[in-house]
């Protein structure tokens, strides 16, 4: 199950949309319609991003959302954590999180190595920012691809 959830997809698209329009206020409905996403789902995601402070919400008529952090500083790791909760490669990387201890015989032979891989994954996710997911499609995606590849 090494995959992103659909929530993260929606969040990524929405945040890219917000990054693209700058400081203009955009309603969830507008974003949903433009990308063919289910509105309630998108709203759930935006609520979470609002709670974590990554987007700012403006209520009422003519309300909507504005990106509250700079795209360059908004890492994929932060986005995933905001939407899905913290990333755990395996359950026992942080046994104290869910209380359930690793039941494997101690010492678990792969614990250290798994932890190392976990860190590598986190590093990768922290190198990638929302700015890399530039809201461009046709050919201009090369500059963003370069940043991601770095």
């Amino acid at each position: 199950m090494l995959s992103l959830t659909r929530k993260t997809e929606y969040a990524l698209i929405a945040v890219c949309h917000l990054a693209h329009v700058g400081q203009k206020v955009v309603s969830a409905r507008e974003i949903a319609e433009q990308h063919g996403m289910p509105l309630p789902l998108l709203m759930n995601v935006l609520k979470k991003l609002n709670r974590t402070g990554h987007v700012r919400s403006i209520r009422g008529a003519r309300g909507g959302y504005v990106l509250a952090v700079s795209p360059e500083e908004f890492t994929l790791d932060a986005l995933i954590e905001a939407v899905e909760g913290p990333v755990h490669l395996v359950r026992c990387t942080n046994a104290d999180i869910n209380g359930r201890k690793c039941t494997l015989a101690n010492p678990c032979p792969i614990r250290k190595s798994v932890r190392k891989v976990h860190e590598l994954l986190r590093e990768l996710l922290n190198r990638i920012t929302v700015a890399d997911f530039a809201y461009v499609e046709p050919e201009a995606a090369q500059s963003s691809a370069k940043a991601v590849a770095q």
Copy 2:
């Protein structure tokens, strides 16, 4: 859900165990007991690894399993694919896999970038091999950690 399944954990531990004992035949029961894993689960995993040719099974009394590939050439990516199926960061990276097409409005603004991230993840998983998960715990894990960090 950026995490490995428990199957992958079991597979990793078992393969490390096999790598550690060299060409000696080890039964699934022996591996399970030594690491406190549920035997049937481990057998399910070993069956899959046998079907993909990564371990060789010897039936009958005194039977068991032997690693069929060199630990240095057995990548984490291959192991995950053998146990869980192919890795998909998002559903639409290979829309033809499960038939279900991406329902988002085209052109999906993040498709290209997501695909790039997907490749980076695959690269990471391909750099890590079973040999990096050396079957050592106390302090000697540094040589393997070095290889992983590379």
